[in-house]
């Protein structure tokens, strides 16, 4: 007697379910269990069983499957090799680690002092990447956290001149804002800003650094200057470093596209007193320095603080 199509389907499903059993058990009894299942199906077909009988059969099999897979796994001898055991033990940790470090946070070290005195050279920080990755233009904004960029936010972003580098600066201008600097004073939309976070190290006023924009402003601003003010175009940000007189920021290379945003610095997990070259490139002297002076040159008071 030829089996009806749905019976063949059920048998295939059951064959797949067998993979939940331990390997040894499946190899030993899998074929017989499939035969058993097939016999039971044929019996039900022969008895012209109705829906409820098939339903009870299905439920009973699912229960049997759940209970017996658990039981067989518990009974299965653990004869895994050392390497395999190690992988099993670390698999979840590794998966979590990969997920977290690729999509949620990323660790950076700050090699320059452009954000002093809020972020120092040698600050090792975690940058939270979820909030800004969502620009809020699609359905994910309803289910995932999304953070709107605000003026005054410290952000991490890809340096537009070289996207391999990640910069940390402070957002000064959002799209539509009119920005200018007059003798180190930032004026946004006509209002002089009070900036307790900003630091000035010289009294000398430089063109284009302290008076901005001038005729010599970067080409990036060419079409965005109105009446001596830079107007931030849509989907762009204007950023400045807190260490105003020593910061390579929007004044020198232009706007940051919104898409280049990486995230928001979350926490400084380690802060170590060192020089720019120690944190820009790996060198053995730095390693030696850390080994010898870890406790004295770590800035403990900055550990686990938010930048």
């Amino acid at each position: 007697m030829e089996d009806p199509g749905f019976v063949r389907g059920l048998c295939r499903v059951y064959a797949a379910m067998l993979f939940a059993y331990p390997r040894d058990f499946r190899l030993e009894y899998g074929a017989e269990m499939q035969q058993f299942f097939h016999d039971r199906c044929r019996e039900l077909v022969r008895a012209n069983s109705g829906c409820s009988a098939w339903f009870r059969f299905g439920m009973r099999n699912v229960m049997d499957w759940i209970v017996s897979t658990v039981r067989e796994h518990r009974a299965a001898p653990r004869q895994t090799s050392g390497a395999r055991k190690l992988i099993q033990e670390w698999a979840v940790t590794l998966l979590l680690f990969l997920f977290v470090t690729t999509t949620m946070v990323q660790a950076y070290v700050v090699p320059t002092g452009s954000m002093e005195n809020n972020i120092l050279i040698g600050d090792h920080m975690l940058v939270e990447k979820v909030g800004f990755s969502n620009t809020g233009n699609n359905w994910t904004s309803y289910v995932l956290p999304n953070r709107q960029v605000k003026r005054g936010d410290i952000i991490a972003f890809r340096y537009p001149q070289d996207v391999r580098q990640t910069f940390v600066k402070r957002v000064i201008g959002l799209p539509g804002d009119h920005i200018q600097l007059q003798n180190k004073q930032v004026i946004r939309n006509g209002q002089p800003l009070e900036e307790p976070y900003a630091q000035h190290t010289s009294t000398h006023a430089d063109d284009d650094r302290d008076n901005f924009p001038t005729a010599a402003a970067p080409a990036a601003f060419a079409n965005h200057v109105q009446d001596g003010e830079v107007v931030v175009p849509p989907d762009m940000l204007f950023v400045l470093g807190d260490n105003r007189d020593n910061s390579l920021d929007s004044r020198y290379w232009g706007f940051v596209p919104r898409d280049y945003l990486v995230g928001k610095p979350l926490v400084i997990y380690w802060s170590y007193d060192g020089s720019t070259k120690d944190f820009e490139t790996w060198n053995i002297e730095h390693l030696e320095d850390v080994a010898l002076h870890f406790f004295t040159k770590t800035r403990w008071s900055r550990t686990l603080t938010a930048p």
Partner: protein
């Protein structure tokens, strides 16, 4: 003599042994006989059945017979299982243990005295 640590048997193991008491059967045949013994109260699923058989083989209660087709079903070859002497002793011991339990229950609860 049955090993004392095998007793009491779980209901599936007890009924599987009973099913094999009169003749060798294959897995599906065992399930059918267990259902008959218990008036369909115990319907073994494949996972439970073969899990029990695996442990019963390991404990020496049953052994594999040979592979041959069941002429009533079809011409597919099936593996048949047979009860060992140890299995027979064990199921006897379990039956008398149960009989003792039942008579104790009858005495305490004043149930009607069966047949």
């Amino acid at each position: 003599m049955p090993k004392p640590d095998l007793l009491p048997l779980t209901p599936p193991v007890f009924h599987i042994l009973l099913a094999l008491a009169d003749e060798e059967r294959h897995g599906y045949g065992i399930m059918q006989d267990v259902a008959r013994q218990t008036n369909d109260a115990l319907q073994l699923g494949p996972g439970t059945l073969y899990g029990c058989l695996k442990r019963m083989l390991a404990a020496g209660l049953v052994e594999e017979s040979d592979e041959r087709p069941d002429l009533e079903l079809d011409d597919e070859r099936r593996r048949y299982y047979r009860m060992t002497a140890l299995g027979r002793d064990t199921v006897r011991a379990e039956a008398s243990r149960l009989a003792g339990a039942v008579s104790a229950a009858k005495a305490k609860l004043g149930l009607a005295g069966g047949k």
